[in-house]
Symmetry: C2
Subunit: 243 residues, 2 copies
């Protein structure tokens, strides 16, 4: 048990929750380590949504609402941490929700689909094919799902797949706490924010933006700006870290 007076109680409890999902097989053991990387970057941005990330979340809402075939791609960590938040975003955008895993087995896909359905998602399922230009398990997706999408939201995605999707001409919206990652650089738009803050941020923006605001956000979106702003925030915090 984590003692409640432990100064990092919240972070440790989330860590235990993910560990519990790993015991059940929803989260890959490698996903626990990936989560730790995210924790470190979240710590460096102050565990809050940056102003620039809020702007990125609004832009993501505008892009998803303007899309013809938007898809939210969900992996084990996203499902474990934010299944309910995915369901709410699906309701706000009408996007397909599709499970795509780095450490892929049919059993894990089914478990994660069940978890998402329990949280209220309508899951786009069915047989997957190796359609993406990648050499391993991440090539799998569904022909009428991610393969046909014009906009794909990838929370917590691997750099290879993000690059492959962008290379296929899709708009890729990434949620990635590491502003230096290949995913963050390859995406059309990167939200440098923790997934349980970022998804509700997009959902809220879907309900509040006028058509004109949405058009302006899409016209002025600049991934380099969003990454630079996150990096500037980290360095500013580091400069005063030992004060």
């Amino acid at each position: 048990m984590i003692p409640p007076d432990h100064p990092r109680h919240r972070s440790l409890v989330t860590r235990e929750r993910l560990a519990e999902c790993a015991r059940r097989g929803v989260v890959a053991l490698e996903g626990l380590t990936a989560h730790g990387r995210g924790e470190a970057f979240d710590y460096l941005i102050g565990e809050k949504t940056l102003k620039s990330a809020l702007a990125a979340e609004k832009t993501a809402a505008a892009i998803l609402l303007a899309a013809d075939r938007p898809v939210i791609s969900v992996n084990g960590n996203t499902a474990a941490l934010a299944a309910r938040e995915v369901a709410e975003l699906q309701e706000a955008t009408g996007a397909l929700v599709e499970v795509n895993l780095f450490h892929r087995t049919e059993e894990r896909v089914r478990m994660i689909e069940d978890l998402l359905r329990t949280a209220g998602c309508t899951v786009f399922s069915g047989p997957a094919e190796q359609l993406l230009p990648l050499s391993h398990d991440r090539a799998w997706c569904r022909r009428e799902g991610m393969f046909a999408a014009d906009v794909v939201l990838v929370p917590l995605e691997d750099g290879d797949r993000c690059e492959a999707l962008a290379g296929m001409g899709k708009k890729v919206i990434a949620i990635d706490l590491n502003p230096l990652s290949r995913t963050a650089r390859a995406a059309t738009l990167t939200i440098v924010d923790e997934v349980t803050r970022a998804l509700p941020g997009i959902t809220r923006a879907c309900g509040s933006l006028s058509g004109e605001e949405r058009e302006q956000l899409i016209a002025t979106a600049d991934n380099h700006y969003f990454l630079s702003a996150a990096i500037a925030e980290i360095t500013a915090r580091l400069d005063h870290a030992l004060d």
Copy 2:
């Protein structure tokens, strides 16, 4: 399988190795996440030993060689990643090697002790008592081991235990990739370096420093300097990250 042409192949292979140790029970699932936090900070310092960390490793060698009762405290992650490196440092310093776990069960203690012995360590074992001023499992240690030590080397330690040991008047040498952590701030000396680079760095210094050099390193050791230097290195890298 991680494809060999993946740009982060080495990091992903280490991650799989830890995951394998987690399947066997040597590494706690929560330890996988902690490793991910370390990965992120290692990435930010460039995955190499900083000049300031090399100086800290030399200082650690001097402190360990001058100690009356030095102890190397080993947890699951350290054993999984660096059992051989612990054995070599033990040979160079004559320190006791003692297993102390955050997520403690007798079975895990035994597994980790076996792993260390196989790697060449002489393990200081036997019944533990709740001797440290901490409210949970981390209070456990051995009366003639960590409890009686004047110098304790804690690779990958939790902030609570680091503070408790320092509060007991011991010199605490921490190996921690996060220069902002409570562990890093509470320690007498922090080495901001990856554990499989830091331990051999200390071992090498044990064999190369003269008595005079050792005295000078101990006299001038400044934890604040070592942390500031690591932070400065990170911010310098971040300033050019998007060039």
